[in-house]
């Protein structure tokens, strides 16, 4: 049964290979992209069901026993993340049908998307730190190419910053892996969790922990390390922006979560959690202040990603079961809502022909339903009940109060208000106010030219993700039970170690 772990990685690889083989058949690419991601969603749901009922699954590749071979491990945390990835992959594949032009499709847009998903799934499922590095690189290389697809000057400029900082983070990662191997003699996460308490070199372990925190901090865009994100995320085609915004930074958050609750869990982790608490406050505040100042829709949303990462890091740093559950729910809610907002921004751009909020307006007047569709994720993100964001923030803040981090809770609430403000800003400028260019429908030309099939392809993903946000809000309980069991499982390393290493102590 544990072979199912391989599928979320193998499926996108196979579809990508077939697509490269038939590189001129763009129609086949589109079909495979949608079908492949739909299948992946199905498989990941089955996997989540299995893990929930039967405990952690692990797979030793090539039959080499852990810790000598590479292990793939699917615990609740990984499975939930893979489900979220598959959902976003599926909706993005649909959305791409409506937004990506032929040129980009001929330049391997669809296979690259599949490879990106493979990298992300691999990073979630691996049980080996060096393997995590490899999956990070797979993910990065595909994201590099997706970022520059089209080759506009601002894309290249943004990609420069993105590539440079991410390569820097990779080299730090490698250095940390090297030192860790030197100290512990193993890189299997479960084996490390067993051995690290028995090791000397506490000072060196702290160095390793800080190096890992910097690496994953760059990936997750936490406070002093986030500059690549707002410089690049608003430049590529909007479908790419959306999938990056939804998934890439969360891989960093996942890595922090895995590293400091499964692998490095002693004095060095306490240090990191102290650091993360402080950084999370800055991340929340700086991100939202950046967002408030922006008038470019996608830049505004990009800064928001940073601010939201702050909440996740805050919850992570508290480390109580409730807080971890909150963080996990927050991640899933945020992946869904944030991607959806990017989809909507792309649709508004198509309708009005600009990203600049000052130049557009009057969307609500002509497309009231789109206004409603925007309000669902926007208010959800800000935390208005009964949408998903309310519960996510509620749990995180409850955990914060329980652990007596009152100042941070105050900051979180304040930031929440500014989030609402910036969402209202988009609403006011793009949807509510009259179009500054007059009431004529000149700006709608672009939209009228799109075939109705493409319109459907753009709207359906928005509806899917919007309904997920609503469902999370109204039927919060069953989902929370799942993330709670994930949190409990995560905080008890014993199960994880036993699932990977077998019966050994």
């Amino acid at each position: 049964m544990s072979r199912i772990i391989m599928l979320p990685i193998l499926l996108p690889l196979c579809t990508a290979v077939v697509m490269i083989f038939f590189r001129r058949l763009v129609v086949l690419h589109r079909f495979l992209n949608v079908a492949g991601t739909a299948l992946m969603l199905g498989v990941s749901l089955v996997m989540l069901g299995n893990v929930q009922s039967g405990g952690i699954l692990s797979l030793q590749i090539g039959g080499w026993q852990a810790p000598f071979g590479i292990s793939l491990v699917a615990d609740m945390l990984s499975s939930i993340m893979v489900v979220a990835t598959a959902l976003i992959g599926f909706t993005t594949a649909l959305y791409s049908l409506g937004t990506i032009d032929k040129d980009k499709e001929h330049f391997f847009y669809h296979p690259l998307l599949q490879l990106l998903l493979m990298g992300i799934n691999g990073a979630f499922l691996t049980g080996d730190i060096f393997n995590l590095y490899v999956w990070f690189e797979v993910m990065l290389i595909s994201s590099f190419v997706l970022l520059v697809l089209g080759g506009k000057p601002e894309q290249l400029e943004g990609a420069m910053k993105y590539v440079t900082l991410n390569l820097l983070s990779s080299s730090i990662f490698l250095a940390a892996v090297g030192i860790l191997y030197g100290i512990a003699g193993t890189l299997n996460m479960a084996d490390l969790a067993v051995r690290i308490p028995m090791l000397g070199h506490k000072d060196l372990l702290s160095v390793v922990a800080v190096l890992f925190m910097i690496t994953f901090g760059i990936k997750a865009a936490i406070f002093p390390l986030f500059f690549w994100l707002p410089a690049s995320y608003h430049t590529p085609p909007v479908a790419v922006s959306a999938i990056f915004a939804g998934l890439l930074t969360k891989v960093g958050v996942y890595a922090i979560m895995r590293m400091f609750t499964t692998v490095l869990i002693h004095e060095e982790a306490a240090l990191i959690h102290q650091l993360l608490l402080v950084l999370s406050a800055f991340t929340m505040v700086v991100g939202v202040l950046g967002a408030v100042a922006q008038y470019d829709m996608r830049k505004l949303l990009s800064f928001h990603i940073i601010s939201q990462i702050g909440y996740m890091i805050f919850a992570l740093a508290i480390q109580s079961p409730l807080a971890i559950a909150g963080a996990l729910f927050y991640i899933v809610h945020n992946i869904v809502a944030k991607t959806n907002l990017f989809y909507i921004s792309g649709l508004v751009n198509r309708l009005k022909g600009s990203w600049d909020l000052r130049r557009i307006g009057g969307v609500y007047r002509f497309y009231p339903m789109l206004g409603v569709l925007f309000l669902v994720p926007a208010l959800g993100l800000a935390g208005i009940p009964p949408l998903s964001g309310f519960w996510a923030k509620f749990v995180v803040i409850k955990a914060g109060i329980d652990s007596e981090h009152y100042l941070l809770v105050g900051i979180a609430l304040f930031v929440s208000m500014l989030t609402l403000y910036s969402m209202i800003k988009i609403w006011n400028e793009a949807f509510w106010k009259d179009d500054p260019r007059g009431e004529g429908s000149v700006e709608d030309e672009g939209y009228l030219l799109i075939s109705s099939m493409k319109k459907v392809a753009m709207v359906v993903p928005i509806v899917i993700l919007g309904s997920v946000t609503v469902v999370f809000g109204f039927w919060f309980e069953p989902f929370f039970v799942i993330v709670q069991s994930a949190a409990v499982e995560l905080l008890d390393q014993g199960n994880y170690i036993q699932a990977v290493l077998g019966e050994r102590p």
Binding site: F130, Y133, V134, E137, L140, I141, F144, V145, V148, G151, P153, E154, L156, E157, G158, A159, M160, K161, V163, T164, L167, L168, S170, S171, I172, L174, A175, V177, G178, I179, Y181, G182, P230, A231, S232, H234, T235, A293, Q294, Y295, D296, D356
Partner: protein, 121 residues
């Protein structure tokens, strides 16, 4: 030998850090390459050096004979080198294309994606 390698790693890190702080794109690429090499050498050194004992099972034997080098750091470095090669090749092409499109190689002049629209600093 370890000492010598440690010095080399230190020099590579220092040079790499210095270079990625420059404003010229070419220097930044060199800086990134140096940092990558430094990390690889570090894995090699920290994984313990064993002289003249490659990690191969000798002809006609069933297992390793002491002393033998730990093969894992070597495998890690090989993987890292291959990945680094691919990523660096991409980076060089990207930087070249950026230079051709944007028309400058001074990183301080590439700030259009960081500015608010309509604002000239």
């Amino acid at each position: 030998m370890t000492f010598l390698l440690a010095v080399i790693i230190g020099v590579l890190y220092a040079a790499g850090t210095y270079l990625i702080l420059r404003r010229s794109m070419v220097k930044v690429i060199f800086g990134l390459i140096f940092l990558g090499h430094a990390a690889n050498l570090m894995i090699f050194t920290v994984g313990r050096l064993t002289k003249g004992a490659p990690a191969f099972v000798p002809e006609g034997m069933e297992g390793f004979t002491e002393p033998f080098a730990d093969p894992l750091p070597q495998a890690l470095i090989l993987t890292a080198i291959v990945i680094g090669f691919g990523v660096q090749a991409f980076t060089i092409v990207l930087f070249k294309r950026t230079y051709q499109t944007v028309g400058t190689e001074d990183l301080d002049k590439m700030k259009s994606t960081d500015q608010l629209p309509g604002e000239e600093l």
